[in-house]
């Protein structure tokens, strides 16, 4: 199983993602992985020092004028255009429609028989980062995922190959308030700073339930810490915001004193800057979006009460597997819900997860996103979104929104991405058929109009087999490549 395999491969506990926190069950890791795996674990941590040559692809040139023609266009915002054209100028969508002329000099992508949809937005990702969790403290609002982003991880290319163009890189769920997120565009191969989504609002990760209370794992090298219950989780949240309120008041008083300072009076001494409380003040002032990992209905309501009491709105509940039980309350709070399609039962708090969650919340007026939380699942979010049509009868448009416009809203980037509309960024995924149909695959993915993934030039199995065939022919008979006859 993937999770155990990753453990075997020597991923350190601080690299574990949310879902994987279930894996290293206290005291039974050795039982789970066995003697063989432990040996591999030891060996592979040595191997980390000498990674093979990194996988790279040529960086596509900037696209000044591009036209995608003859496509079935799933705009998401205004229906399907059966035989349409999209014109892209300087990375933005300049025109879209059935009767759009191809401008002279445009680079033409003929999408006959193909479907174009907005680039997929993965609202909950832990890709492209060196480390996921700052495990130490209960509140680590001061740490920033943007500081540990790596642009060269192959998974980013593979996610492009699954039609993903934007990811919200979140801190892990080991603490009640984790670190600050980084919204990235998958401009794979460009320098690391070029991946940051320009103008995306600030965000931060919260986490409730089994992970912050450390129910299923030990952190090597330290004793357990408060909180160990859901009671404690509420308390540490309230304590943090109580401190943040006092801190904000200190600064307000300082600013007020400065504003009313009379000539000759001494300059007031500013309060000591606290990077952790700065982030929480931004939350209370509505300048930093909260993305809160949660499972059970009771803890969802707890967080909504805390947010209400401290005057902020939770932008999105993450996982929110029991959201369907309190869908009205979530809708009333104006909070989004970013969930899995059908992942369940991996821990106790996921036992009441049902695949009808997305449908029920949608019916109650909650904006729903389907996310990955995982490098691998991110490659097939379109298939996960399709499942919501089966489980609970979500409409095709609503299902498409769950991986485009709805996550864009949760991240505050809906004016830039999430639908195929004039003026938006030309972030597009071109599929061989309808993205929800079983035999469809991604043929091409564009970010800002630049083709970052093109299956015709991608390192596919078919291409590798052709190479091996040519090598064999070149070497002549009797020199078969290892394993090939």
């Amino acid at each position: 199983m993937k999770t155990s395999r990753e453990f075997r491969e020597g991923r350190r506990p601080e690299q574990l993602r949310d879902g994987e926190l279930r894996v290293v069950t206290r005291g039974e890791a050795a039982v789970r992985v066995g003697a063989l795996a432990l040996a591999l674990l030891a060996a592979s941590s040595i191997a980390m020092a000498q990674s093979p040559a990194p996988f790279t692809m040529p960086v596509p040139p900037a696209a000044h004028l591009v036209a995608i023609t003859n496509a079935t266009i799933l705009t998401v915002s205004h229906g399907t255009i059966p035989h349409g054209t999209i014109v892209i100028r300087e990375g933005k969508i300049a025109a879209v429609g059935a009767d759009v002329a191809v401008p002279a000099g445009a680079q033409v992508i003929d999408a006959s028989g193909r479907y174009v949809m907005p680039g997929i937005i993965d609202e909950h990702s832990h890709s492209a980062i060196e480390t996921v969790n700052e495990f130490t403290n209960v509140i680590t609002a001061e740490v920033r995922m943007a500081d540990v982003v790596r642009q060269d991880m192959p998974t980013l290319y593979w996610q492009l190959a699954g039609g993903v163009t934007t990811i919200n890189v979140l801190h892990g769920s080991a603490n009640a308030i984790g670190g600050q997120d980084a919204v990235l565009k998958l401009r794979w191969g460009l320098p690391v700073d070029s991946l940051l989504f320009e103008g995306a609002p600030l965000g931060i990760k919260f986490a409730l339930g089994e992970n912050p209370k450390e129910s299923n794992f030990d952190v090597p090298g330290r004793a357990r810490r408060y909180p160990a219950t859901r009671m404690g989780v509420e308390e540490v949240l309230r304590d943090a915001f109580t401190r943040a309120v006092a801190y904000r008041t200190e600064w307000q008083q300082y600013e007020a004193t400065r504003r009313t300072l009379k000539r000759g009076q001494p300059e007031p001494i500013p309060p000591r800057r606290d990077l952790q409380l700065d982030a929480l003040v931004e939350v209370m002032d509505g300048r930093r979006l909260v993305h809160a990992h949660c499972y059970r209905a009771d803890e969802i309501l707890m967080l909504l009460r805390v947010a209400h009491d401290f005057g902020f709105r939770v932008a999105s509940l993450e996982h929110v597997l029991e959201g369907y039980k309190v869908a009205d309350e979530i809708a009333a709070a104006g909070t989004g819900a970013s969930t899995f399609a059908d992942f369940w039962g991996y821990k106790l708090e996921a036992y009441d997860a049902i695949p009808y969650n997305a449908a029920l919340m949608t019916q109650h007026g909650v904006a729903v996103a389907i996310n990955s939380d995982d490098d691998e699942r991110a490659r097939r979010l379109y298939q996960d979104a399709a499942k919501t049509m089966h489980y609970g009868g979500v409409s095709e448009t609503d299902a498409l929104k769950m991986i485009t416009l709805n996550p864009a809203r949760m991240l505050g980037i809906e004016t830039k991405v999430g639908s195929i509309d004039v003026g938006k960024d030309a972030d597009l995924a071109i599929f061989s058929g309808h993205p929800f149909a079983p035999a469809s695959r991604v043929e091409m993915t564009l970010v800002d109009g630049r083709v970052f993934f093109d299956r015709t030039t991608a390192p596919t199995l078919e291409h590798l087999m052709q190479q091996l065939q040519e090598q064999r022919q070149h070497r002549g008979p009797g020199t078969a490549e290892r394993g090939d006859q």
Partner: protein
Amino acid sequence: MLAAALLAAAAPALNAQSATGLAVSARGWAIRNATIVPVTGPRIEHGTVVIRSGRIEAAGADAAPQAGDSVLDGTGLFVYPGMIDAGSRLGLTEIESVPGGEDQQELGEFNPQDAALTAVNPNSEVIPVTRSNGVTTAITSPRGGLVSGQAVLMDLLGWTPQEMAVRAPAAMVMTYPRTGGGGRFRRAQQNEADQTNRQVLALKAFLGDAKAYADIKARLAGGAPGTQKTNLAMEAMVPVMRGEEPAIFDVETAEQIRGVLALADSFALKVILRGAHEAWRLADTLAARHVPVIVGPTTTDVGPDEPYDEIFANAGVLAKAGVTVAFQTNDARDSRSLPYNAALAEAYGLSADDALKAVTINAARIFGVADRLGSIEPGKEATLIVTDGDPLDARVGPRYVFIRGELVPFNDRHTRLYEEFRARPKP
């Protein structure tokens, strides 16, 4: 929901024994005016499937029900065989993080005497959830060590594990040792290679012992004088060493597959490869040797030095070469997503026909039950699904699920919670 309501009104009368011990209803069913997709033959438009005493009595355009048969209108619907997950953990795990419900893995390297069927919890909430999505039958396997134990092929319906069993044991589950992990850190180290070599030697030595034990047992049976102490582990290996029971080898790389083929030659084993994302490298060899491959889950990462689509495209290459391909989820809670695993392979080169066979008849063939399961043919067990469309299409699902002629209600944990909270009054 439809079927659940229908079932509540008509509790089945249990009055006949099926071949495998589950009491089946003598009651007849007819699914009329449906598109029948037999898998082993051309599809039949506007056809009728007649079910009686747990079996398919007739399937075709002119199949006629008897008076008194319950009739389901199949207009606009499709009849497919129930899907078979050729590698799961169903019944052996409930909630992964709760150790009390975990019975997947024993201690130690060699446990051929352990039978998955023993530990299958027939009341696991995961089982109804799985069958509600059209996966009616599954291999469930122990894991861990070099010889993990005996897999069982079971229908996802029954009061006891024994009633669920279709074939037990279905195969002996083994792992061929591997050098290097996957992913980013797969470059092998010398001490790691030594460790792998020691494990290969240990596996060979074990198989050598098992062969000697089986040989002595045969000679004693043939009248040779002498005695043999009974060893339960060795007893479990006897049918494997005689080639009567297949050995599933969980592998990933071509190197492991070559190792398995060498073992198959040395010990005359009947082998089935499972996982095997590099099996495409040996596709022609595997086809020539009639070694089936159970691929998947396709929802698995591959290493950075592997083609990005290898995990999806492997199945198509194998099928084109003539290898019998089936799919596994290697999971319990995700077993219901078996068809979506196959859909990902279909998107990358597996034909629609081969994809459908891979989740139905091929698994039945691999485990020697193609005379009972895996297609819509008269005489076979009536384990079938009635759907809104292609079962590999994530947008649609089953309307009715029959297992051994029983219409199975959709009253699983998930539908129950759905109905319960759908009815919650506005706060």
